[in-house]
Amino acid sequence: MAEIMSLREAIGTFVRDGDHLAAEGFTHLIPFAAGHELIRQGKRDLTVYRMTPDIIYDQLIGMGCVRKMVFSWGGNPGVGSLHRFRDSIERDWPHRIEIEERSHADMANAYVAGASGLPFAILRGYVGSDLPKHSDRIRFIACPFTGEELAAVPAIKLDVAIIHAQQADRRGNVLLWGILGVQKEAVMAASRAVITVEEIVDELRPAPNACVLPRWVVSAVCHEPGGAFPSYAQGYYERDNRFYLAWDPIARTRETFLAWMQRHVLDTASFAEFRRVHATTAREAA
């Protein structure tokens, strides 16, 4: 049952070292504030899931929080590589993370299976791809009616899902809209769910059939306005594309990365403070 609490308390209470964790978002509503808090609290040995790991996962990897990453597309969207991810894979820094690599269709179906309480999902996929050669978790089974061979993949079952949403009410019911990605599925596939929101309102006014996560599938709601920055929250603010561009040179070397993380994340106590520091450093850089 959702409790409204600080992000620090929520991450402290609901995320444990070694957890299987997804901080999902498909360009929209990426939970950056929560990602920073994971880093501040020094979470370790996480198995992290995400269809599109981007900057915040790059930061988690570079700061040594990640043991293994399950993903389908890892990059800085519209810009290029995730340098910390590549440094880990290509040169073992800070350590070599394990990877389990899938396709989007696979992960989307695996989240659905997890949300649906099933142990696996079936899809028509991977034929002709080398990906199954590098995973014992992509198998092929025959349809019991037609004999057709289909890919079978294990469900994603999470200890904790972290997402960002537009609104919650004071009882902890959550509303999100626009590009939804796999966020609902991640929450439904998880034992615990931490949700940061732009706004806490007296009453949600969802459209019919809107994406509402009732408070009894939510562990914590944290009021973090701007908490998806530099991604966007439809109806609240736009994506800060300059941040994504600026991240590329910062992440390229270990030194610039560590200095940035120290100044912006480890030395700040909250995402609000990070935003203030970032406003200053971004002005200086410009």
Binding site: F26, H28, G78, I89, H104, A105, S129, N241
Partner: protein, 256 residues
């Protein structure tokens, strides 16, 4: 102002989309070409992005696959699982429009690694939606710049299926879609031979030569007996493309 090879490539790729086609759009060059088609000869082309927008009509190009512009201009936005399940796997996509880091002569695609998988020389972003787009879309168009880094003799890794090792290999693998029907580059257009399915240079953009194309290809490139010349971009196409790029740069900053 002269026409750049990238402009010619984008215009040539856009022309491949017929009006009304339902197109599953990759980010970057495919998105530019698909939106140019929508803004010129194919106003009713339906653009679907894997993040969930169906019928997106962005006025500026998205920098990412999930830009708000896609959501607010779409007919509706569904979840990402629904996109892959009901729309792609459900057989509703006419054309999958993909980019690639590397392709081989049978239009198989690598976007995973260069070098050894477990100890890669270059770690690329990975599969994204491409393996199932390549399998299930009615047909696939691929757009990428023509050079030896991209057009390689042997892929380190096949991420997404083209024509496998050629011939009727796709049909034997029971893949639902027809696979790649054209590769549009900044030099010309390659189409699979009807029998062997090997990519064949069938059209050269104005000013490009067979020698250039061969030099930019990492295998002995097949050339059609009659190589067409791609009709040069029309003024209205160029105007639409440049206006689109200008609007995009104003919205996102230069690097978009």
């Amino acid at each position: 102002m002269g026409v750049t090879p990238t402009e010619t490539m984008t215009v040539a790729a856009a022309r491949m989309l017929r009006n009304g086609t339902v197109c599953f759009v990759g980010i970057g060059l495919p998105s530019a070409a698909a939106n140019l088609a929508r803004l010129t000869h194919a106003p009713d082309v339906v653009l679907i992005y894997e993040s969930g927008p169906i019928g997106a009509k962005p006025s500026v190009l998205p920098l990412s696959i999930g830009d708000g512009e896609l959501a607010v201009t779409a007919d509706t936005v569904v979840s990402t699982p629904e996109i892959f399940r009901y729309w792609l796997q459900g057989g509703r996509i006419d054309v999958g429009f993909l980019g690639a880091a590397q392709i081989d002569r049978f239009a198989n695609i690598n976007t995973t690694v260069i070098g050894d998988y477990d100890r890669p020389k270059v770690r690329l972003p990975g599969a994204g939606g491409a393996p199932e787009i390549a399998g299930s879309a009615g047909e696939v168009l691929i757009v990428l710049k023509h050079d030896r880094k991209a057009f390689v003799d042997t892929l380190s890794f096949i991420t997404s299926v083209g024509h496998l090792d050629g011939g009727d290999a796709r049909a034997r693998a029971k893949l639902p879609g027809k696979g790649p029907t054209a590769v549009i580059t900044d030099l010309g257009i390659l189409t699979p031979d009807p029998v062997t399915r090997e990519l064949t240079l069938t059209s050269l953009h104005p000013g490009a030569t067979v020698e250039q194309a061969m030099a930019a290809t990492g295998w002995p490139l097949r050339v059609a007996p009659q190589v067409a010349v791609t009709p040069a971009p029309e003024p209205h196409e160029l105007e639409a493309l440049r206006a689109l790029i200008r609007r995009t740069e104003e919205a996102h900053g230069k690097a978009a």
